[in-house]
């Protein structure tokens, strides 16, 4: 049957279903019928639909229709639903049970998550339900067991929810490999991907079908977009600050907006901003509106309480981070406020979609820029959303550490043949370009660590049998695998507990923070958490003990700072707007004035050029560049520029970066050095800095070590709590940094270091983006020497001293600490 033929609901839906729709006064939507037709034609399909379009029901209708005729199907698992959030899986199960029950369908629907009791999980393996709703990690675990062929052999359909959120991440890599195995176990299986609008649907379509090198794609169904959002930027009457992210100046206006709406979601970019804004809102909350806080560090029970109150409509507003970006329906939200820069247009569209789940009414959203650059960014985002323009996805290949985990899992399931497994792996979209050499390295890694020095043959974890198949060496290896499955490597988290003056056990747990955040604190430091200003007292085992304090200004500025860098797409939008004064009409007067003076005093950054300013200020010399490539790429650039200036004996002292610009400062007159040809900006910004300079820096970079640790954990080189249980009492801890140092020194080409470098290219160091920028601006540096600081430079200059940059000058700090103590001692004498 051709899927192009127009099919009526009567052809596609059985009587029971038609009656059920009619009883609700609904009609099946076109895209729901399209998916039924695709299913009948045996086509794997991507459904792109906005929130509220009945996406989930569309994905499940074919399954429900097939299951309504129990006679003509074998027993066993029919449909697998996989979602990035276990809460979403539970939610969808509930939403599915209702129509199934109302139509009296003989369907068993069950969820399987980390919370499912062991007894039910065992029963599910023996006696699987018709529809199983679960997560990528559970799929990996099930596939690594010997029952997998029995369990999945009957599978007809796989529904992948929120596919846009999974693909392009390591979790997506893991899922894609699981999908490849599922297709081996059930060759006829159809896949259905559910996605929000994305810039490159072709990639997701390739995801759904096996790849053989020809770029095969699944079909696509695009639901009509909902009503265009009613989107505006808050034109604050107050003075727009030069820098900062708190949006304090707009507080009263945000509060007034909350007052005028039923329920408002206030999105911010970091947990720290959420904490601060929540506090500030309560400070002026004269109407005592029920305003709540929601972010990923808060205690789970507290988050669940907020979510429950939200869906019961008891809250007036929730201040939240991306912890509420995805999926679940939070009830009657009629306004989304996005505080701070949106950083990417796709994320912004997702957030806007949270308001108003009815398709035919526009979602209402207000953008609140926190500083002047953010005004430009919000403006660019606004135009992007109106044009439905999405951020481009970052090109990346499937991660080798994830592949290592998968290969071990496959050995746990049954002895494997390397040729067959390689063919299966490259059928997964992220791994379509994987070389056989890389695959073999990953297999060797699982066997003996894969080191050039073949020292561990005797201790192999997987071994090749006489018949050539690879098997696990012992049941303990399978046990290790099961403990380690998944790609989410949380930074070590410490619980935050209120210390009690009376009891040494302390009071309530407020939530969790990353260990590395606490590493930067001394007892007595204050920070904001769970809506309160807290004073850090001590660490006791895995708990941070804190007390409440009346201090107004927390001393430790931020944790989990600016999570998302400015997207390349929005950056281009901001650059284009800056370069074209005719478009400034849309900007607030203060911002226009700021740009006018910049034009007068200095120059404007061109669309394609890199503007570099140099000027003296208060005894120091500054070099400020405006790449607009996001804070992460700028920090990497700052490290490299500082190293180069040091080598040129231009005595740099430090640098500071934000999303738009980078400022390097030091003691030498850089304008003079440029004028006398002692410093060439073309050389300074030459892409060759990504060679040896980068390598040297990576040797020491804390971010690189953190990246390596994640790869080592995912690949199963080390356990999640390394070294774990080996010592009690006094704790000699051996960190993965030591392993990184040794490996890097002796085998820089090792597969795990390759995996870590690939991560660094797109992750915390954003090297890929830096490299693209350096290539783009080659020969296009626009330098101007100024007598004083320019208006455009002020925001980044204001960050100096506010933002701590992790550099490698630890020895300088040690010397300083030593000197302080000497001074202290000498002072005592005097």
């Amino acid at each position: 049957m051709s899927t192009d033929a127009v099919l009526s609901p009567d052809d596609l839906l059985p009587e029971t279903f038609l009656r059920w729709f009619a009883a609700r006064g609904w009609a099946p939507r076109a895209h729901q019928l399209d998916l039924l037709a695709k299913a009948r034609a045996g086509r794997s399909t991507l459904l792109i639909a906005p929130t509220g379009a009945g996406k989930t029901l569309a994905g499940f209708l074919p399954t429900l229709v097939e299951l309504a005729r129990p006679a003509n199907r074998p027993r066993g698992l029919h449909t697998l639903y996989i979602s990035p959030l276990k809460a979403l899986a539970v939610d969808v199960a509930r939403n599915l049970e209702r129509p199934a029950a109302e139509m009296g369908l003989p369907v068993r629907i069950e969820t399987r998550t980390g919370d499912t009791p062991a007894s039910r999980r065992q029963r599910q393996r023996r006696d699987p339900p018709d529809i199983l709703l679960t997560t990528p990690e559970q799929i990996a675990l099930l596939l690594a067991s010997a029952d997998a062929p029995f369990l999945f052999g009957t599978l007809q359909r796989i529904v992948l929810d929120e596919l846009h959120a999974l693909s392009g991440s390591k979790r997506g890599d893991l899922l894609s490999l699981g999908l490849a195995r599922l297709r081996t176990l059930a060759p006829e299986v159809q896949t259905v991907g559910l996605s929000a609008t994305v810039a490159d649907p072709e990639r997701l379509r390739r995801w759904l079908v096996p790849q053989t090198g020809a770029g095969e794609m699944g079909d696509v169904v695009i639901a009509p977009p909902g009503a265009a959002p009613d989107l505006s930027m808050l034109d604050s009457a107050a003075y727009v600050p030069w820098a900062g992210h708190t949006a304090r100046h707009s507080l009263a206006e945000i509060y007034a907006l909350i007052g005028r709406h039923r329920t408002t979601l206030v999105f911010v970019n970091t947990r720290m901003q959420a904490e601060l804004l929540f506090q500030e809102l309560w400070r002026i909350n004269e109407e005592t509106y029920p305003i709540a806080l929601h972010h990923g560090s808060l205690d789970v029970s507290q988050r669940r309480r907020v979510e429950a109150a939200m869906s019961e409509g008891r809250l007036k507003a929730v201040v939240c981070t991306s912890s509420l970006d995805l999926g679940i329906d939070w009830g009657d939200v009629d306004l989304v406020v996005n505080v701070g820069a949106p950083k990417g247009s796709s994320r912004l569209m997702q957030r806007i979609g949270r308001a108003n789940h009815r398709l035919d009414e526009p979602s209402r959203a207000v953008l609140v820029p926190a500083n002047r650059f953010e005004v430009l960014e919000c403006r660019a985002a606004l135009e992007a959303v109106r044009a439905s323009a999405q951020d481009g996805a970052i090109e990346r290949a499937g991660a080798l550490d994830v592949l290592a985990q998968h290969v071990l899992g496959m050995a746990c399931a049954a002895p494997f043949d390397a040729d067959n497994l390689y063919r299966e792996v490259v059928s997964a979209e992220p791994y379509a370009g994987l070389s056989r050499a890389d695959f073999d390295d990953v297999v060797a890694f699982n066997a003996t660590g894969g080191y050039a020095l073949r020292a561990y043959e005797r201790f192999a974890r997987i071994r090749q049998r006489k018949d050539g198949l690879w098997r696990v060496a012992s049941p303990q290896v399978a046990q290790q695998y099961r403990m380690n499955v998944g790609t989410i490597v949380e930074a070590t988290m410490l619980k935050v507990r209120l210390a009690s003056e009376k009891s040494r056990y302390g009071g309530r747990i407020l939530g969790e923070v990353e260990e590395y955040f606490v590493e930067t604190m001394s007892p007595g430091d204050t920070f904001v958490f769970a809506g309160e200003v807290l004073e850090y007292r001590a660490i006791v085992e895995d708990e941070v003990r804190v007390v409440r304090t009346a201090a107004k200004d927390p001393k430790v500025p931020s944790y989990d700072g600016g999570k998302f860098p400015l997207s390349t797409f929005l950056a281009a939008g901001v650059r284009a707007m800056l370069a074209d004064p005719t478009r400034w009409k849309a900007l607030p007067a203060q911002v226009r004035e700021w740009l006018d003076i910049q034009r007068l005093r200095s120059r404007l950054p061109g669309r394609e050029d890199l503007l570099v300013e140099s000027f003296p200020r208060a005894g120091r010399h500054y070099l400020v560049a405006y790449p607009f490539e996001g804070r992460l790429a700028h920090q990497t650039l700052g490290m490299l520029l500082t190293r180069r200036l040091e080598r040129a004996r231009l005595r740099p002292l430090g640098f500071v970066a934000n999303d738009y610009a980078i400022a390097v400062y030091g003691l030498s007159d850089l304008s003079l050095a440029i004028a006398q040809d002692r410093l060439s900006l073309d050389d300074l910004f030459d892409a060759d800095m990504l060679g040896d300079d980068l390598e040297d820096w990576l040797a020491e970079a804390a971010l690189m070590k953190r990246t390596f640790r994640q790869c080592a954990v995912i690949a199963g080189l080390i356990e999640r709590r390394f070294p774990g249980k080996e010592k009690s009492g006094r704790q000699v801890t051996m960190s993965t940094d030591l392993i990184y140092d040794v490996l890097r020194q002796h085998e820089p080409g090792h597969v795990l270091l390759r995996a870590a470098r690939a991560d660094a290219a797109t992750g915390l160091l954003d090297i890929r983006r830096l490299s693209d920028m350096l290539t783009r601006i080659r020969g296009r540096i626009d330098h101007i020497a100024l007598g004083r600081v320019s208006p455009l430079a002020v925001p980044v200059m204001l960050e100096i001293g506010r933002e701590m940059v992790a550099g490698e000058a630890a020895d300088a700090l040690l010397a300083e600490a030593e000197d302080d103590l000497v001074r202290e001692a000498m002072g005592e004498l005097g």
């Binding site: 080189l717 700090l813 040690l814």
Partner: protein, 240 residues
């Protein structure tokens, strides 16, 4: 002000920071070793050779280069100091099987280090018995002049004791950055050496097990890139 503005202080004397212990003048080598000029003796602690392969035996194949990394570091120090005696303060090998697992390359490195000098191996809890592969002399502890060298520090007052075992590290926070370094710890009566082993890891000097060794104030000498930095114990932060 920003983190990088600290002026680097003047270069440390090339021979290393000098300290006095029970009247003996000792030099702290920034690579993590102790040099006693009067005896022409180099002292190192806690090499934990073959710790990587000890993990591999248990199914965790850590990179197998830790022994050669540790021995290369030691060879560098020996080449600079040219001592007559090298004294190992125990836990030189990570476990009883380590001597057998030690590879040919590593044995060759050890032979090069020992050429023309005496090697003295003090027993540690990881390597209580003599190890034939190492050669040299094996002792439970060594008394020499005013100093006593043993692996595990004794309790109570121990004038002139030089020990290892605890792998001391010190932690500081400056300008929002945490810095954690291996260190020597001493109160002028007793000295606890940092671990030299590439995979040795560390214990914070504010931990009760370590702090309990010192009755009064003590100092950490943190290992930097080219010199050690002396920081009073109260300025160092505990871990957990």
């Amino acid at each position: 002000m920003s983190w990088a503005e600290a002026e680097t202080t003047e270069e440390a004397p090339p021979e290393g920071e000098a300290i006095e212990l029970a009247g003996a003048r000792l030099l702290l080598d920034a690579a993590g070793a102790l040099f006693w000029p009067a005896q022409d003796m180099l002292i190192v602690a806690d090499l934990h050779l073959e710790k990587g392969s000890a993990f591999a035996v248990r199914g965790i194949p850590l990179p197998p280069y830790d022994s050669r990394a540790t021995l290369a570091l030691l060879a560098g120090i020996v080449a600079r100091r040219r001592p007559r005696v090298v004294l190992f303060l125990g836990d030189s090998l990570h476990d009883r099987g380590a001597g057998v697992r030690l590879g040919d390359v590593e044995r060759g490195m050890l032979a090069d280090i020992s050429r023309g000098r005496d090697m003295v191996w003090v027993a540690g809890n990881h390597d209580p018995d003599p190890v034939p592969q190492l050669g040299g002399m094996h002792l439970p502890e060594l008394r020499l002049g005013p100093l006593t060298f043993r692996h595990e520090p004794t309790g109570g007052d121990a004038q002139g004791e030089v020990a290892g075992h605890f792998h001391p590290v010190a932690r500081l926070v400056r300008r929002g950055r945490g810095i954690r370094r291996r260190c020597f710890a001493s109160d002028g009566r007793r000295l606890v050496m940092p671990a030299l082993g590439a995979y040795a890891g560390g214990l914070n000097i504010r931990d009760a097990a370590l702090a309990g060794l010192f009755a009064g104030p003590y100092a950490a000498h943190l290992i930097g890139a080219t010199r050690t930095y002396r920081i009073a114990h109260h300025a160092c932060l505990p871990d957990r």
